[in-house]
Structures are given as C-alpha cells and as structure tokens.
C-alpha cells in the first residue's frame, strides 16, 4: 500500500528522555480519537513514523504519475485522453497535499524528495511494474486506486489532523479514479476479442502486485500493533486485503474476466473469499528496489528534478529580486 510499513527497523515507542506524563496524556488523547495538531506535543517516534508514512504516501502519488503518464500521449480517444490527464493531475495534487501535511511535522519537501532520490524513502511497490497496454490504464484505476481507497478511507480518521484532512480530499478523487478505471476495463471486456484479451492480460499481470500492495501479512508486520494503537493505521494489512479481494472478485466476474488465482473460492463459513499464497519474496525484492521498472521510475524522478533545478532557482531569484525592489520602493516612497 501507499502507506505500508516497509522499514525493517520500526520506531521505538518512547524515547527515555520523554516525560512519562506527556506521553500518557498524548496516548490518552489518541485513544479518545482526538486529532493531534502540528503544535501539540507528540512523542518523537510518533512524529518520525508519521513523516515516514506520509512522505512515502506522497512519493507514491508522485511516482504513480509515471506509469499512467506513459499512456497520456496514446489514449485512444479525446475523452479518454482528457480523463487520464486529469486523473494523473489529481495524483500530483494528492502528492502536494501530502507533502504539505508532512511539512507540518518539520521536514521540508526538498528533504523528502532528496530521500526519495537516494533510495532512503520508499514508495508503493505497485508502481515498479510497467504499463504495457491501454488495458493497464483500466487495471490501475480499477485495482490500484481501488486498493488505495480501502487503505485511505480509514485514514480519514487517522490521529494526525493534517493527514486526516488531506485524506478526505484525496478519497473523494480516488473513488472517481476507481470507477473510471473499472469503466475502461468494462468497455474492453465487452469489446472486440483483442480488447477482451488485452483486459484479461492486464488483470493477470496486475492482480498479484495489487493484493501485495497491502503489505506483509499481519504476523510478519512488526509495526502494525503500535500504528493501530496510535491510530496511524486503523485496520491491519490482512483485513484490508481481504476486504479488497471480497469487493473486487465479483466485479471481475460481472464483466467476464477471470482473476488469475486457481485457489480463489468463496468460503461460506468465513463469509469471505479464500485466496492463494502470495509470493512474498517477490514483494520484498520489489521493496528493495528490484521491481521490473524501479530503475526507470527513480531515474525519471531524478531527471525531472535535476533538469528542473534551474527553473526552481529562477523562480526563487525572481521572487527575491521583486521583494528587494518592493523594499526599496517602500523606503523611497
């Protein structure tokens, strides 16, 4: 997921220097479902975990622009082109809100971007897979945005106020994206035999990476307990994954596509779908940066940043010149 804990060294609960009464008061407020605001006292570990989670979420939005951006120039109709461009633009907007939310915790956007470029900060593993056909644009909206919604709806009630409020705006748009993606896939599935094959092939390639997005299973997810206690996370990886599978499988069936999992079947007793074993070696390899197009994604971000440096410098220089001109005018006037 955009916010899955990918660090092997989870933050420690409380630093020894932190006053126990402050920690206790903080824990009580969080347990009481109050929002923590930027000026409020918070444990260092909470701050660090949040910066890591929110910045990783922001990076996921921004890196996520690349696989879909790959098809803007080739969208097959004017309407599809406009909808896709608007969607990718929304993701950029999500990145902006999230960087701003993370900045309220005392880390600058430039620092976060630097961490992305050096590989210190992670982003969702899903964006390290390539978009090979137009059907991938449908699959991403349907599955990836669909999974993002599962994860982000509970985050609207997360304990950190600026993050929760950013999530409210983001979630509205993600549901649009999910419907648009499903609509693309539905149209393909009902189209020519080649189009239907394209849609099935995209589902085959995106299904497993999509359900991996929710992160490692709960028994191997060291931070989940603390994050749930801090209301940074509100449901566990496996709970969210199950929800996603339960919602998505009937959608695939409705449009005549087959989920590529021979072990998938409805479990009457549990009231859920059972699904096959997930290849966690693949997941951890992609987390480590070994995804099929990980190098391309990071390089594209670094190139954009470096090639744009002179533009950002010019904007700052012009703003500074203007400010000093205004000062002079004020002094003379």
């Amino acid at each position: 997921m955009y916010t899955t804990e990918m660090s092997k060294n989870p933050a420690r609960p409380a630093a020894p220097s932190e006053a126990p009464e402050l920690v206790a008061a903080f824990e009580a407020r969080v347990a009481n479902d109050e929002f923590i605001e930027p000026k409020d006292w918070m444990p260092e570990a909470y701050r660090k975990t949040l910066v890591r989670q929110i910045s990783q979420h922001a990076h996921s939005e921004v890196v996520g622009m690349l696989p879909e951006g790959n098809w803007i120039s080739r969208a097959p109709s004017l309407r599809r082109k406009a909808v896709l461009l608007a969607k990718v633009q929304d993701e950029g907007g999500h990145g902006l809100y999230l960087y701003s939310a993370a900045e309220t915790l005392g880390t600058s956007r430039d620092q976060m971007i630097e961490a992305l470029h050096t590989g210190k900060a992670k982003y969702s593993t899903i964006f390290n897979y390539p978009t090979l056909t137009w059907a991938d644009i449908g699959a991403i909206g349907w599955l990836v945005d669909g999974a993002a919604i599962m994860n982000q709806v509970p985050l609207q009630r997360t304990s950190y106020g600026p993050y929760a409020r950013a999530m409210v705006r983001v979630c509205k748009e993600e549901s649009f994206h999910q419907r648009q993606g499903f609509e693309i896939t539905m149209k393909l599935a009902a189209g020519t035999p080649e189009q239907k094959a394209m849609a099935q092939d995209a589902l085959n390639r995106w299904w497993w990476p999509s359900i991996m997005m929710f992160g490692p299973p709960d028994d191997n997810s060291p931070n989940t307990a603390q994050s749930v206690r801090w209301r940074i996370k509100r449901e566990t990886n496996d709970e969210l994954r199950q929800k996603f599978v339960d919602v998505t499988v009937p959608q695939a069936e409705a449009i005549g596509l087959t989920v590529p999992d021979p072990d998938l079947k409805w479990n009457e007793e549990r009231g859920h779908y059972d699904y096959g074993a997930i290849d966690w070696d693949e997941f951890w390899a992609v987390v480590k940066g070994e995804g099929p197009v990980a190098k391309e994604r990071v390089k594209a971000r670094i190139d954009a940043w470096e090639k744009g440096a002179w533009v950002r410098e010019a904007a700052l220089a012009h703003a500074a010149k203007q400010a000093s001109r205004r000062q002079k005018e004020a002094a003379n006037g």
Binding site: A75, S77, L78, G93, W134, A300, A304, W310, A314, L316
Partner: protein
C-alpha cells in the same frame, strides 16, 4: 443549423480544422510534460492548460466534422487523418525542448489565441462565437500564466535568462504564420466568419514589448518566416507526434474505447 454566410463549405471546414488542430497538437505536446515538470506546481499548471486545449479541440473538431458532412466525429478527425491533412500552425508541433522553450512557445501561442478568441467570439458563425466565448476565460489565464513565467525566467538567473531567450529564438520563425490568413476562400474573412489575424499583430507586438521589458529580454528581430502548416506542409516532428497519438485507433480500427 444554417451558416449565415456564402463562404464555401470547404473553406469553412478548413478554417475550423485549423482552430481544432492548433489546440489538439499543443495539448499533445503539453501532455508530454506530465510527471516530468520542474516542480509539482508546474506539472499541474501545464496539465491544466493541456486539459483546456483538449476541451477546445473536441468542440472545434466536432463542429468541423459536422461542416464536413461525411459522418466524421472529433475522434475520427483527430485519430484518422494523416500528417498532410492537419491544419495546425508549425509553432504548436515544435518539440517541448527545455522548460524555457515550452514557456516561449506557450507565451506566443496563448497571447495570440487570446487575441484571436476575443475577435472570434464575435464571429458571424454563432457556433464559432460560442466556442470562442467559452474558451476565452481559460485562454486569458493561459496567456497570463505564460507571461508570468517569461518574466520569472527572464528576470530570474543568468542561466534562466539565456534559456528562455534560446527558447524564443527557436520559435520566432513560426510567429508570422499565426498572422497570415491564407484562407482557402477570402470570403470566409469578409463574411465575418473567420478573424483576419493580420489585424491582431499590433496588439501582439505591444503585449510582447510589455512582457519583455519586465522580463529584461531583448525584443527580437523576426527572422524569415517558415510557413506551411495551414496547408498541411508540416515539420518533420508532426508525423512522429501523430504516430504516437494515433497508434491505438489505427492498430484496432474496429474497436470502440
């Protein structure tokens, strides 16, 4: 609907195609920036302009298809014409280059398009008048945004000054084409359907002088113009742009997307 003029149908179609193709091809170029711009904010601004232009292209090409009367809709015209059937100006098909060149191209185009739509909003063809009036507000914003960036880059650093200057150097030869009408049939102008763009030149030059003064950029000596876009004689760049843009509908001609 009846067209209140005696202009030939072909000339009318051709004129509306020009308007649609300008918007479409520039939108396609701007879309290439998506995810790769110098900062998130600029990424969003360029995508905004591209989105507005796709909207304009859809309206103009849809109308062009009606005028043509062969059952072609906007998508058919966008995705199933070959390079020599496109009627856009050469400026919009120019590759993005760096951000300086993209801004130079945008400044020239949007400033011109703003002046054009102001007049076109009074066209004797009510359909064109309506589209232009609708698009005028967003085009005003595009022209302002581009002008702000020309000033920022011109006035910013020595490097940005040089780069935006180079960007304009690339574009100057395509400016005259914007102001030469060369219609298939002169009556399309005299009847008040089309705008005589030559009349917009003075206002364009004066806008340029104002922006360039603020940007501390030297006014250009315009080089010998390169023309041809309006009659389908394009640069080498357009064919590649189209082969990319048109790939899917051409590879799967029976498909609906």
């Amino acid at each position: 609907m009846t067209i209140p003029t005696l202009t030939s149908k072909d000339a009318h179609f051709d004129y509306v195609l020009r308007l649609g193709d300008d918007a479409l091809i520039l939108a396609q170029r701007l879309g290439e920036w998506c995810g790769h711009a110098p900062a998130l904010e600029t990424d969003l601004s360029l995508a905004n302009i591209a989105l507005d232009l796709i909207g304009q292209a859809t309206m103009f090409l849809g109308y062009a298809g009606e005028l043509e009367g062969k059952g072609n809709d906007a998508d058919k015209l966008a995705f199933h014409r070959d390079v020599n059937q496109f009627r856009n100006c050469l400026l919009v098909e120019q590759p993005n280059g760096d951000f300086g060149r993209t801004i130079a191209r945008q400044y020239i185009f949007s400033t011109w398009q703003y002046l054009l739509y102001q007049q076109l909003a009074r066209s004797t063809d009510p359909r064109l008048a309506e589209i232009a009036a609708k698009a005028l507000k967003e085009t005003t914003y595009h022209a302002e945004l581009a002008a702000e960036w020309v000033v920022r880059l011109g006035d910013g650093t020595a490097e940005s000054h040089e780069r935006v200057k180079d960007g304009f150097e690339w574009c100057w030869r395509f400016v005259d084409e914007l102001f030469s009408v060369q219609p298939l049939d002169p009556s399309i102008v005299t009847s008040g359907v089309a705008v005589d763009t030559a009349t917009l030149r003075a206002a364009f030059d004066s806008a340029l002088a104002t922006t360039f003064a603020e940007a501390t950029l030297p006014l250009p000596k315009f080089p010998r113009p390169v023309l041809g876009g309006r009659k389908g004689h394009h640069s080498e760049h357009l064919g590649h742009l189209l082969s990319d843009m048109q790939f899917l509908p051409r590879a799967y001609p029976d498909a609906v997307w």
